[in-house]
């Protein structure tokens, strides 16, 4: 079953393409069905989880000479990521309901679901790396073919950037194996003294994950890729691919080398704060609606880095919450930004204006998600910001309370964006545009909105997962 989940999609996506190439409409139902199955499978795994630690699902493809095998092991963090990924994939199918050339598009999406599940399911560092790289392939085509005007530049930049930085990670993984002789990172947790050059390994891995997250100054691929990608793919990029970076950071720096991480925690913290504020200011200056959202996304990931850098039970719990919150909050913003461009054919907010009158539902969702992005209570953004601020102050002292400024900066760009694009008198461009949205897209947006509010009012389910995942760090 586990192998089917990972490798099935990689191979069967070709069959899906060949079988349904004459009836492209069918592929989306196939994709939807498969992702729903994945979603329930992930939920099922969640219910099977032990109260603490890993659950071993199986070991395959072993090469005894090297002690090498595909180890499939999961803990609460992996399962949280799997649930998030599969839920987002379902919603992505809904929001790409009217995408062109669906048979290829959906095949690629199905293909993407394999390696991304692999990344979160395996504990073998080499397989982890292989899946990590494989996720890039469908993404490259999805951005490069379905994207906007400058999609080729964006796709190549995205691919090369993440690939090059993954090489650092690869070197680090190889060094881990050379120095310890173990492929399974879950066996290495707490055995930091086995590493001969921990600082080097830490930095190489950190670079690899930092570019994926992304943090300042490795973030410039993101605005290009997110803007040029079709909106649903932006959702995947922001909701899943960036989470791979955060997941890797938690797995390989915090869990694998907690002592070294504490040694460099201050660096991580500073990088996180700079990312948050820098990207926030860039978002304020931005007229381009989707770039604004993209910078907002970077800014929120900076908060995740701040939370991870605390290396405490509560800080990591807050980071997991913020990761899920970021995925659910930024996705509708990306979708609406892309949809507005699709309808009005402009990216610039000052050319829009008065959209609320013509598309009240979408505007309301945009405002709601925006409020979540700026951290308004009652939404996921607030709990994320609050818990991160508390944890960071607890770990570092009073001066970290400066991260609260992020709440003001984000209010600046979100409210100003609403002022320019949604409110105000109707611009001539909006006047002559007809705004229509298909039912599945509306449904998906409504689901996002409900989730944002539900988990904002009742965050405990996510924190339960977090408590299960990070209990090993212990309270202090």
């Amino acid at each position: 079953m586990e192998l089917l989940v990972i490798f099935g999609p990689i191979f069967f996506s070709f069959f899906v393409y060949f079988i349904f190439r004459n009836s492209p409409e069918t592929t989306k139902y196939v994709a939807l069905g498969w992702f729903v199955v994945l979603f329930f499978l992930s939920l099922n795994w969640y219910h099977q989880l032990p109260p603490e630690g890993y659950m071993v699902l199986g070991k395959y493809l072993s090469v005894p000479q090297f002690g090498f095998e595909l180890t499939i092991k999961m803990d609460a963090l992996s399962v949280a990521m799997l649930i998030l990924t599969s839920a987002l994939l379902v919603l992505v199918v809904l929001t790409s309901w009217e995408e062109k050339e669906q048979h290829i598009y959906m095949s690629l999406l199905i293909m993407f679901s394999g390696p991304i599940f692999g990344v979160f399911m395996t504990t073998n560092i080499l397989w982890f790396f292989i899946f990590w790289e494989l996720t890039l392939v469908p993404m490259l085509f999805l951005v490069g073919y379905w994207g906007a005007e400058e999609r080729i530049y964006a796709a190549i930049k995205f691919f090369l950037y993440t690939h090059v930085f993954a090489m650092f990670m690869f070197v680090a993984f190889f060094m881990i194996f050379r120095q310890t002789g173990v492929w399974d990172f879950s066996d290495l947790a707490g055995k930091e003294n086995l590493f001969k050059t921990p600082f080097l390994i830490w930095w190489l891995m950190f670079l690899g994950f930092a570019a994926k997250l992304p943090v300042f100054p490795f973030h410039t691929w993101l605005p290009d890729a997110h803007v040029q990608a079709p909106s649903s793919i932006s959702v995947l990029l922001a909701g899943v691919l960036l989470k791979m970076g955060a997941y890797g950071l938690i797995r390989f720096t915090v869990e694998l080398m907690p002592e070294t991480t504490k040694h460099f925690a201050m660096v991580m913290l500073i990088i996180g704060i700079i990312t948050t504020l820098f990207a926030g200011f860039l978002a304020i200056y931005e007229r381009h609606i989707k770039k604004m959202v993209a910078y907002s996304s970077i800014s929120h990931m900076g908060m995740v880095v701040v939370a991870i850098s605390t290396v405490t039970y509560d800080g990591l719990s807050a980071s997991l919450y913020e990761m899920i919150g970021h995925a659910l909050v930024i996705s509708p913003l990306f979708l609406i930004a892309g949809w507005l461009h699709h309808k009005t054919h402009t990216w610039y907010m000052d050319e829009m204006g008065g959209i609320m009158k013509k598309a009240p539902f979408v505007s309301a969702i945009f405002i709601l998600a925006g409020m979540a992005a700026l951290g308004l209570p009652g939404t996921m953004g607030f709990i994320g910001e609050l818990t991160i601020t508390i944890s960071a102050v607890k770990a570092y002292g009073w001066w970290v309370a400066i991260v609260a400024v992020a709440g003001l900066i984000s209010a600046g760009y979100i409210i100003w964006a609403v002022r320019r694009a949604i409110h105000g008198p109707m611009s001539p461009l909006v006047e002559r545009t007809t705004f229509t949205m298909s039912f599945p897209e509306k449904l998906a947006l409504a689901i996002y909105a409900i989730l944002i509010v539900y988990f904002g009012v009742n965050p405990q389910p996510i924190f339960n997962l977090a408590n299960q995942a990070f209990a090993f760090l212990g309270g202090n």
Partner: protein
């Protein structure tokens, strides 16, 4: 938490916690089906909330204290706690009672608006936010209600979002208050870690027993006061309060009377012992005295009815803050209560005037409304007298108490400024009333009030009740003080003050009436003097504070910092990233030359290569 709401035994608390949000959703959905239903849902929910507050008031024995599980992660536990004592009940009665009156009034005022479902949904949400603020025990719970009000005020001020000015005013209100709010967020984190609690009651207790670190208490108290400055429109974050007049007048009544602006005073009053523990109250008193002066002088020259009232709100809130700041919880809270009632009355009367005059808001374009709307004129006069502080109206007692406390406290700056502000209120409110109701109608063509006729019963009822209350409540002033503070309060006594205030008010009243009724030409002569014009412009623009803040945010934050970051991002970071492409190409071109096919070139390269390897080996082996 939401699973445990059912376990709250008290039906009143449950209603207050759930009904506003449920009603908000219901008003929108039902209102979409049939427009009138939105009003009726709001009316019923408003009545329910008021009844629930009265129920709590009557059935009160000891403070209600309920703890619900909310967030537990790591070793951090953030429960959701409800605490209702006398202070909360007073605030609840104000919020729900005035809110109910406001909803009732809106039946006709908003009667023509096609967006009624949206309006009532937002109004209920707004009241819900205020309720949440006053019934929670933790700073986080209070912050949630606090921010709900920020959102609701944003949505209501920009209710007519298709108007440029309304959309901008909404944005301004949200950002100004948000600037204060992030300080509260920081204060939560600081208090949680350093004081070990964010429980408002416990913070007071800790302050009383002297357990708190003084620096921490001072810093967090000032941070929370920053939030209060934003919400209650104090110096320097007041301009949003005036621009908030872009919303419907009923919304202004709600913001200025029932809910939002009271929240800043409430939070300081709730944390009064905590504030008293440090020197924070000194800063509160002085900032507030300055704001009172700014508000009352600016109100003197405004043209729009609502702006005059807005500046008067600012000034009166500051008077309440001064009351708290000089150490008299009783004076501050009493003034808050009185002000909330008469200000709601004034705004609703102003709404009636604007409704009758077909949305003419400029007081100079009105006049002579006495004949057509006698009821409104009387009600507004009662509100005005109360605001001016004329005995026996309620405003007199509380204002007197604040000013006397300020003089007793002994800081000259505070006392003088607050006295000026208290005196000037009679001048601007008389001016407003005289302009609207006396004289002959100016600009006849622009307002033709024959169409709407007189004010309707829907409007008169809440106005009449509020007018009655503002008079009747003056009988119970000492009871209110006793109810809130819980012990007998010694009345501050400054011998000369009452006589001074009353004669000052009489003189100002006489001057204003004389100038605006009899001698308008003299007034214009004075106003046309160059020096007076300058003063007028400064006051009219609210001391240019809005221009200053706009300049800073536009030129420094957006066009310098953000733009500089953008430049750095594009031309340094991304340039370096993209520069890898030509660098690779140059690298290729350089080494391509090596493949020349000439044997000499290859030998030369081999020699260089070997030399590099040898040097490298020697470096490593010998440590050369």
């Amino acid at each position: 938490m939401i699973y445990e709401i059912g376990s709250i035994g008290n039906i009143g608390v449950k209603t207050l916690l759930i009904a506003p949000y449920l009603g908000s959703v219901l008003a929108y959905i039902l209102g979409k089906a049939k427009r009138e239903l939105a009003f009726w849902v709001a009316e019923i929910v408003g009545a329910l909330l008021f009844l629930a507050s009265i129920y709590l008031f009557i059935s009160f024995e000891k403070p209600i204290d309920i703890t619900l599980n909310w967030i537990n992660y790591g070793d951090i536990h953030l429960p959701f706690r409800i605490y209702i004592d006398h202070l909360s009940i007073v605030m609840l009665l104000i919020a729900t009672g005035l809110g109910f009156a406001d909803i009732h009034f809106a039946h006709d005022y908003m009667g023509d608006d096609p967006d009624q479902p949206r309006y009532y949904a937002k109004v209920l949400f707004f009241i819900g936010g205020m309720i949440l603020l006053v019934i929670t025990k933790d700073l986080i719970g209070a912050f949630i209600g606090w921010e709900f009000m920020g959102l609701a005020s944003y949505a209501l001020i920009s209710f007519w979002y298709y108007k440029h000015s309304a959309a901008s005013a909404g944005m301004q209100a949200f950002l100004y208050t948000r600037l204060g709010d992030i300080f509260i967020l920081a204060a939560i984190a600081l208090l949680y870690f350093y004081a070990g609690t964010i429980d408002l009651i416990k913070l007071n207790e800790m302050a009383n027993s002297g357990e708190l670190n003084k620096t921490l208490a001072l810093v967090t108290a000032l941070f929370i006061f920053m939030g209060a400055i934003g919400k209650s429109g104090q110096f320097p974050l007041y301009p949003w309060l005036m621009n908030a007049m872009e919303g419907p007048t009923t919304v202004s009544a709600l913001i200025h009377g029932a809910t939002m602006v009271n929240s800043g005073i409430y939070i300081v009053a709730r944390l009064f012992d905590f504030y008293h523990y440090t020197d924070a109250l000194f800063i509160v008193a002085n900032v507030a005295a300055l704001s009172a002066f700014i508000g009352s002088t600016s109100a003197l020259v405004q043209k729009e009815i609502k702006k005059i009232l807005a500046y008067s709100t600012m000034s009166h809130l500051s008077i309440a803050f001064v009351g708290l700041g000089v150490g008299s919880l009783a004076a501050g809270m009493l003034h808050l209560v009185n002000h909330a009632i008469f200000k709601a009355l004034l705004f609703l009367s102003a709404g009636a005037v604007i409704y009758l005059a077909h949305h003419v808001k400029d007081a100079w374009k009105l006049g002579g409304l006495w004949k057509t709307a006698p009821f409104v004129a009387i009600f507004m006069a009662m509100g005005s007298l109360s605001l001016a502080g004329v005995p026996p109206f309620s405003g007199f007692f509380s204002k007197e108490m604040v000013v006397a406390s300020a003089w007793e406290w002994g800081n000259g700056f505070t006392a003088i400024f607050v006295t000026i502000a208290a005196l000037l209120s009679i001048a601007y409110i008389t001016r407003l009333w005289v302009l609207i109701f006396l004289g002959e109608p100016r600009h006849e063509s622009e307002h033709d009030h024959a169409i709407h006729g007189a004010s309707t019963f829907w409007m008169r009822l809440p106005l009449g009740i509020l007018a009655f209350v503002t008079l009747a409540i003056s009988l119970f002033q000492s009871d209110i003080v006793h109810y809130i503070v819980g012990k007998e309060v010694e009345e501050p006594h400054v011998a000369w003050l009452t006589a001074f205030m009353l004669s000052g008010m009489a003189i100002l009243f006489a001057i204003v009436v004389w100038l605006y009724v009899k001698k308008l030409d003299l007034l214009q002569k004075i106003a046309s003097h160059q020096f007076m014009k300058t003063i007028h412009n400064i006051l009219f623009n609210g001391y240019y504070m809005e221009a200053m803040i706009t300049w800073i945010s536009k030129n420094i934050i957006v066009n310098s910092i953000a733009r500089g970051f953008r430049w750095f991002d594009t031309f340094v970071i991304d340039w370096l990233v993209n520069a890898t492409v030509p660098m690779t190409r140059a690298f290729y071109r350089f080494f391509k030359k090596g493949h020349s096919g000439e044997i000499g070139g290859y030998i030369g390269q081999m020699v260089i290569g070997i030399a590099i390897i040898v040097i490298a080996i020697l470096t490593i082996v010998k440590g050369l």
